[in-house]
Amino acid sequence: MTDWLLAAKLRMDALGADLAQAPREWNLWIDALATSLMSGTGVRAVTYCLILLLIGGSVEWLFWTYAYGPLRALQATLARSARQVLGLGLRRLLLLCSGVLLFTGASIAASAVLSWPEGVQEAAVAVCLWLMVVRLAWAFAEVLLAPGRSARRLVPVRADHVPWLMATVLLVAFFGGAARFLPELVEQVGHAPHSAGVLRLTLATLTALLLLVAAFGFMGRPPRSVLAQSRLPAFPRSFPAAALVLLGYTVWLLGSAALAGVTIIVALVLVLQMVLRDAVFFFWSGRWDKSASPAGAAPAAAGANQLLPQIVLSASRFGVVAIGLGACAIALDTPLAELATRQGPLVRFAFSLLGVAALALLINLVWIAIRSAIDQRLASIGPLDPHGEPNPDARLLTLLPLLRVSAAMVLVVMLVLSSLWAIGIEITPLLAGAGVLGLALGFGAQALVRDVIAGIFFLAEDAFRVGEYIESGTTTKGTVERITLRTVALRHHNGPLHFVPYGSLGTVRNNSRDWVIEKFNLPLPIDVDSETVRKLIKKVGEAMLQDEEVGHMLREPLKGKLSRIDPGVKIFRCKFETVPGKQFDVRAQAIKRLEAALKAAGIGFADGRQTVYLQRGGEPLLIEGARPA
């Protein structure tokens, strides 16, 4: 503790010394600079700087002669969905950043070939980089905030904040870039360490003041419509924001730049984590798809839209933390590679824990993805109506929860094993033990396993659904009432309920699929005209198609044709095709209608009347009305 206080005191003393020494040093430096500028050296330096500017500018101009058309096309494109907005924004960012990077790259590369006066090249390169930082910040802010173009905005920011945010970002980039490049330059090229210190102090103070102004200036202003919306006033965000800024500044002032960097990064990561949910769900807020889906489809679409944002949110949280850790490591100037290979047990353990955390996050991500997908599918199927038509989704109601549990188990086992391995605990014996145990269990539960596996395949192949009438190879038959993991429950038409394990289901004959063809015979007297009857049957068939009651069940209308002639009987074979299970109703209807139609046409059914000729002494004797034997 006292060490820290001492360090803070030393730092304050150093700052005081900087402030005291800087003016004199600064004057000397400026004099030297002016002297060397007002000479051939100065002219050469300025000439070279202008050359760099021209070269960078030329390269960028050349780039824009090609890229300006695409940029305008991107700007003029009206995006219709969130994904398009993001895609267009990223492409614009790519174009803008390419221009900036080309300028910087060309200028810095060109500076290598010129023979500079001492120290000027460093200054030129520093200024180039500084310019690059500011312009990149500008490009990012422009793409993210899209001033004046609310349809293109990629972050949820109030429209009246955008210009202020834009200005804040630019100024912070300006000061930040200056703080990164200028004091170093003053120190190394100008040999003026005190001036560099004062410069740092000035820039840090300016940045802190700017952020404070931003925090109280526009972040603190409540939205104008607070009363109109009758909402509770939001938590005053400006105070924590200001506190964070002040904390960062104080840490910088009393501690060190690295410590302040870490503080700022941690604060930024926390703030980002807080706003990340809004930022991610902003893309699925339906802001862009107002006209896309009709009102009826909206709830389903909203449900389907929950999966992706969840995954993106988790991934972004993970990414923000990872980037924050990386940034902290850079701010602390930690030699990461060296640290990882060092043999300190504590360090290695910390790294292992870091790895486990990353692994847990990753597996959490996968779990969220799987669970959301399955839940969504289940929700979209909804509860099953046992009295409705056989539903192809019914098997999913069985399979999906099973899949969810299996996935959870696999993921947990993977996580545990990988974590143990990452921490350094040997997992081979565990695996071997689990293998032996699994083998024993497998032998014991052979039948059970067979049933479950066979069941999975039956379900996967969609062999039967709830409500279908099936016959199994073991002559069990009935309507499927329930499907579980191990058995299928079949209701026999006489009432008994069979529970058949999948393993003994064998061949399955499904009577309820696609269509059924039903045939029946129509015996008519031998003397009827076949063609008339055929037409009559056809007419009945057409009439049935029009019928409200049975018409929708028919797939092919009733047709009939003469199929056999027996003594005294013409047998007409009738045939129709219906949806499964409806053939009996339709057949009854058909026979009823045929009977009426035949009666109307004056045709009776074959009555089995036969003519028998008996001969007695050459006189034939005709007996009418004898019944066939």
Partner: protein, 375 residues
Amino acid sequence: MPSKTLLRNLRLLSGLVLMAFVVGHLSNLVLGLHSVAAMGAARWLLLDPWRNPVGGGLLALCAVVHTVLGLYAISARRSWTMSRTDVVQLVLGLLTPPMLITHVVATSIASDFDRNFQFAYGRMLAVYWSYAPKYAFQQLFVVMIVWIHGALGLYSWLVLLPAWRRIGGVVLPVLFAVPILALLGFAESGREVLQRLESDPAWKSLIVDNLRPISALVAQTESAQNQVVLGYVALVVLVLMVMLVRMLHARSQPVRVDYDGGEFALGRRGLSVLEIGQAAQVAHAHVCAGRGRCGTCRVQVEQGAESLSPRNDLEEATLARVQAPPGARLGCQARVLGPGVLVTRLLPAHADASAAREPADWIADGASGQLEPAP
């Protein structure tokens, strides 16, 4: 009201003459990459044509004409909406005269004082590099400003010409290379001159002897220079005031422009359709930034054609060149004088200079300003 086409051609012509002079000047500097002697040797071709009364008079006339027309164009502006290129052109154009005046005065005094002294390139360079770096800086910045202004103007004119496809590949690199090489030549010759100053005391004393009276003369003219600059600043302020008054004058008369696709923009009476649209950030192609050259801002007037200003000669010529349909207008030239109009943009907003060079390629598509997003 003078003819717009005439004004435009005058401005272009005077600009081209000035640009030719600057190219000659800078090409001479490029020779410094070889030697100071080479610079002197090429002088008769690159610089002397402007030294005689005819060339000098033409140059002065063109400078005055170009400046006056530029100031006139600024005063004739109706709104602040301009492209970034326009802003750069405006600022650089306004900066050029005051930056250039010292150079002109100093060189003419020096040449009057001793013709031999002035034309010996090496001595002038020695003054710049050793005795008066202030002038060197001024020169360097003037070169940058003038060249960027000229190159932007030349490029935005040439890129619309059908010939650009053939000459573009040559002109663009030249536009980039000339100032870079000239500055490099300046640096190289400076090094040579500085070395000679070290090694050749007689030459050095000659320069010092001549320099003293010249600088005294230049100092005498300083107040006159300041007055000229002051007068120029006053003129610029006047021009800006005129622009401001014109803008404020029409403020209270709002008009409305409706676009195909349901967009609309509100603006002041007297602004062009393009200016009103730009202020409201309506996507509307305008490759030449409202100069009436490119024809990419052409629109079909669906309703309220009588609210628009009549066509001027510039608009007629451009519309004929781009094979526009009969009822079309140029968005940048048609000013809204009545309550409102409904227009259909004839080219998509991303139309580039090729739409001006090869108008036939762009006629089939682009009936609407809204395009499908690229796949």
